[in-house]
Amino acid sequence: MSARSPAVWMRVALVLATASELSLSSEEAKAQTPTYWVYVASESADEVSVIAFTPVSGIQVEKVIPVGFWPLETEGPHGLAIPDDGNHWFVTLGHGVPVFGTLLKFRTGADTLVGRVELGMFPATVAVSQAQLAFVVNANFHGDRVPSAVSVVDVPTMVELARVRTCVMPHGSRFSPDQSKHYSVCMIDDQLVELDAYALVVVRRLDLTARSDRTMQGPPTRNADHPCTPTWVTPSPDGRRLYVPCNRGDVVLEIDVDRWVVVRRFTSPTAPYNAEVTPDGRRLVVTQKGSAEVSIVDLLSGKRVAAIPSSRRVTHGVSIEPDGRYAFISVEGVRGEAGAVDVIDLEQLRKVASVDVGKQAGGIAFWKKTYR
């Protein structure tokens, strides 16, 4: 088993703290039935739902929190993150009125808005570091295909400190386990970008389509056909590997961080979108927009060991709880369909629960585990 990241430790601490509040020892707590709490954003409903999943009794929507400010406008909550201390949740609104999007900060549980900052065009994925910096990719999904940036926000004050220009249509936002590096990808430029998460500068770029994988020199170049169209990047728990779904290429790339090269490619039909590695580092969970299913990849063998159909079309995000038993999957749906959150049992490799949420469920984040 690989070393736990600080993030995982904090989640464990949160669980223990919660158990303590209930006057349970950790052993007693483990004997109880846990309830897993997840937040999920619904992009076409301007709302965030709080989901509670209890393996015995099922799944339900505990609460729906409106996050739109503008009547008669869909502002598009897209990315969602809960930092390690679990005290706040952050959600991006793709656009406001007139055009620029925002990052919102809410207190968890009470779900009250406590901070807000306007960012660039369609801020999408967000991640928050232990240094209390939120890294938000301004995806600019729909604008002219010009280089965009990663916004860095000081979350205690919700002040944007920097915009680090990266590439055209950045997406995905994850830290290395030691949180010294930040990773994002460029959907149009077919690049992986590594930032120094404190100096806030681009450290390395990787051309994800080069025949010989190599570190890029100089400014980004444009891949006219963007055959990879990477949509996500997530690290292994030990930080030695990165996994990048190529949404157009129907493949997930495994990248050796030290050597900065692609070392394996996992076929992932079709249209892989988000991914996350289980805490033990053994499996990769990949959402597949095109085939509306979730792939489970055994990272030792490199084989897909399961393809689990989603409850609707357009499978979007994944968040795995710290124990690694359950993966929570957001599913968008199309047109007038509701969105959904599916729960996958990673031991049984099957969907064990599903619940409807607002339209176009996307950003999803695990909050806590409680016993009740």
């Binding site: 076409s44 929190i65 009547p71 008669l72 209390q132 400190l161 806030l200 047109r335």
Partner: protein, 665 residues
């Protein structure tokens, strides 16, 4: 000058693995020297930071990073701070060790620069005994910033000759010399006046008409004359009005207004007296204003109910078969557009529908020949939105001709169809011009985008080869797309004129030429509510209705290079949305305020809402609507004697405005 305050910033340790608590190397706090600063503009100072662990031991290997916000204070990676502008600033400090992170702030105060200059306006040298005129003092600091936060103290060197009050109003009392002074933070400006006897012996005041109704604009002309009857142009004239309204009640708003250019309008019927004053001379001119008497009623004719989803825009047209049809869109639903036979307005019949990959079909338009319909897409599952061209020559069998999403993936919110071209609002940033001469093969031929910071566009409407675009804070921008006034064409749109919106809410722009000869553009706001927090569940099926705010601005574009905002129309409890003008009649959807039919004849001035110009209002109450019994008017379109209305919560309505009947007692 620097003020170094020795203060320790104590910071809580940030997230770290719990097993490492209390161990060496885990950053707990950053101590910054100096911990707070007062710098003058131009000063520099270098911050020094030491990172301590939970055992209060320094961590020399810790890396420290400094950041600032905005452009008023600069800090480099070594902690060197440079004060650029006045204000309260913060330097953010972050520390990194292999075991964790810490964060801190250093407050930095930069006093605003001292006042450099005070300038008094106006600046003629002569002032008349008996005359009064307000003066302004413009205060500029050393950085060149015009300061409005500094109190100005006015004084006169000889109050027996001329006085000045705390607002800068100077009054000449007797002949002599007086120096008017304005002092701001110790910096003085002065202006020497020679006060002379006034040559003004009388004021002549005339009106452009002898009778009027409420809302009519009357031009008053005031001239200061000497004893020979010659005009004294340098003599300032002050105009005011007193009124005796017919229905005076307590706490009325002013019954009339007159501006200093002599433009008068009455809100209330009654006797109004305009007063002109110049250098001690006064003239009066009274005018009797009668009620406008335009109010009427609206009768409901028919409804094409849509109750399961929310309706967006509409378009009504005469089909190629000679029957009348309408198309309506749907909002945040399942991507449908509905086609209606409205030949019998009392019985709109849905004759076909089209469903596309979208959640919102916000706008619908039809080509002039009635053969091609254009609908917009937002919320497509593949994020490729754009527009869809439909063959609607037979609205009972509508088919998709083509889709066009190249470069339009962000969602097309609004379109206009004009002479074989679609003007499509692209991602709220610009409009693209798409040639649809061959509707199966649309092609982009041009585009237009402003270059202002943060620019955005909401809608476009084309009349006589001019695109009237609504651009939020950039207001209305007129673009030549074939008129020729600026050499523009669909493939080469050329900006003609602009009127900015200080409120930043321009959502619609519609031109019309008034029977008065004036050329106006109505600039419609779309404003939400107070946005301190997210909204609730308003507008959901079976729930409570939404509410909006914002009003209509009337901008006189008769001189395109010098547009002037002259009037407004508002519904205080609601916000404006789509509008239409036929002749001198305005049809305005005001969301929760319903549809208002307004007489906009004549020159316009002031607040039209209170001038008795409202002809009729209609609020759609559908007890089984998407939100029951809640008007939410999206857009009106007058057509062949009826008014068709897209209602957000209840679908398509046909109503008829009765002829105005003036009741004479």
């Amino acid at each position: 000058m620097k003020s170094l305050v020795a203060r320790v910033v104590v910071l809580a340790p940030l997230a770290v693995p719990p097993v490492l608590h209390g161990q060496q190397g885990v950053p707990a706090r950053i101590e910054v020297e100096p911990a707070a600063l007062v710098l003058n503009v131009g000063d520099t100072v270098t911050l020094a930071a030491v990172v301590y662990d939970t055992a209060d031991e320094a961590i020399p290997e810790a890396q420290v990073f400094f950041f600032s916000r905005g452009r008023h204070l600069a800090v480099d990676r070594d902690g060197k701070v440079h004060a650029l502008r006045g204000g309260q600033h913060t330097v953010f400090v972050f520390a990194r060790t292999p075991s964790g992170a810490a964060r801190g702030e250093v407050p930095i105060t930069v006093p605003f620069p001292p006042v450099a200059r005070v300038q008094i306006t106006p600046t003629s040298n002569q002032f008349f005994v008996g005359g009064s005129q307000r003066h302004e003092a413009i205060v500029t600091d050393l950085s060149g910033t015009v300061r409005r936060d500094i109190t100005i103290v006015w004084s006169s060197s000889d109050p027996a000759v001329a006085t000045v009050d705390e607002f800068g109003v100077v009054t000449g009392l007797r002949s002599g010399v007086a120096t008017i002074r304005a002092e701001a933070d110790g910096v003085l400006a002065q202006h020497i006046y020679r006060v002379v006897p006034s040559p003004v012996r009388q004021v002549a005041l005339t009106a452009s008409t002898s009778s009027a109704t409420t809302g009519d604009l009357i031009h008053f002309t005031a001239r200061a004359l000497d004893d020979q009857g010659r005009e004294v142009p340098e003599a300032p004239i002050l105009l005011s009005v007193v009124s005796m309204p017919e229905d005076s009640v307590v706490a009325q708003f002013p019954a009339a207004e007159v501006d200093q250019r002599g433009r008068f309008v009455a809100y209330k019927a009654g006797l109004h007296t305009v007063i002109a004053m110049s250098a001690g001379q006064v003239a009066h001119h009274s005018i009797l204003v009668t009620p406008r008497h335009v109010s009427s009623k609206i009768d409901v004719v028919g409804q094409g109910a849509v109750r399961d989803v929310r309706t967006s825009d509409l378009w009504v047209w005469e089909g190629v078969d000679g029957r009348d049809y309408a198309v309506t869109g749907t909002w945040n639903a399942a991507g449908a557009a509905y086609f209606w036979d409205v030949s019998d307005p009392s019985n709109p019949v849905m004759v076909d529908s089209v469903v596309v990959d979208a959640r919102t079909v916000n706008d619908v338009k039809v080509s002039e020949d009635g053969r091609v319909c254009v609908i917009t897409r937002e919320g497509a599952s593949n994020r490729r939105n754009g527009i869809v061209l439909l063959d609607c020559a037979n609205p009972r069998d509508v088919t998709v001709l083509s889709t066009f999403d190249d470069g339009l993936t962000g969602g097309v919110h609004n379109v206009f169809v004009y002479q074989n071209h679609v003007y499509a609002v692209n991602n709220g940033r610009r409009f693209d011009v798409i040639n649809i001469a061959d509707p199966r093969n649309p092609r982009r031929v041009g585009m237009f985008e402003l270059d202002t910071p943060g620019h955005a566009i909401h809608d476009v409407w084309v009349v006589d080869g001019i695109a009237y675009t609504s651009n939020w804070s950039d207001g209305v921008v007129l673009v030549d797309v074939g008129n020729g006034i600026a050499g523009g064409s669909p493939s080469n749109p050329v900006r003609v004129a602009q009127y900015r919106d200080v409120g930043g809410a321009t959502h619609a722009a519609l031109p019309f030429r008034s029977s008065s000869g004036k050329f106006y553009v109505i600039m419609g706001d779309e404003a939400g509510r107070d946005a301190d927090g997210p909204m609730g569940r308003e507008g959901e099926q079976g729930g409570t209705p939404d509410a909006m705010s914002g009003y209509l601005h009337f901008v006189d574009f008769s001189d395109p290079l010098h547009p002037e905002e002259v009037a407004r129309y508002e519904v205080p409890e609601a916000g404006s949305h789509n509008i239409w003008v036929t002749g001198d009649t305005l049809y305005a959807a005001f969301y929760n305020g319903g549809v208002r039919v307004v007489d906009i004849s004549g020159e316009l001035k002031g607040n039209l809402t209170y001038q008795g110009r409202e002809i009729a209002r209609f609020k759609a109450y559908d007890p089984t609507g998407f939100v029951p019994n809640a008007p939410m008017s999206w857009g009106p379109q007058p057509f062949k004697g009826h008014l068709f209305i897209a209602e957000h919560y209840s679908g398509l309505w046909a109503v008829k405005v009765r002829e105005t009947e003036i009741l004479t007692p």
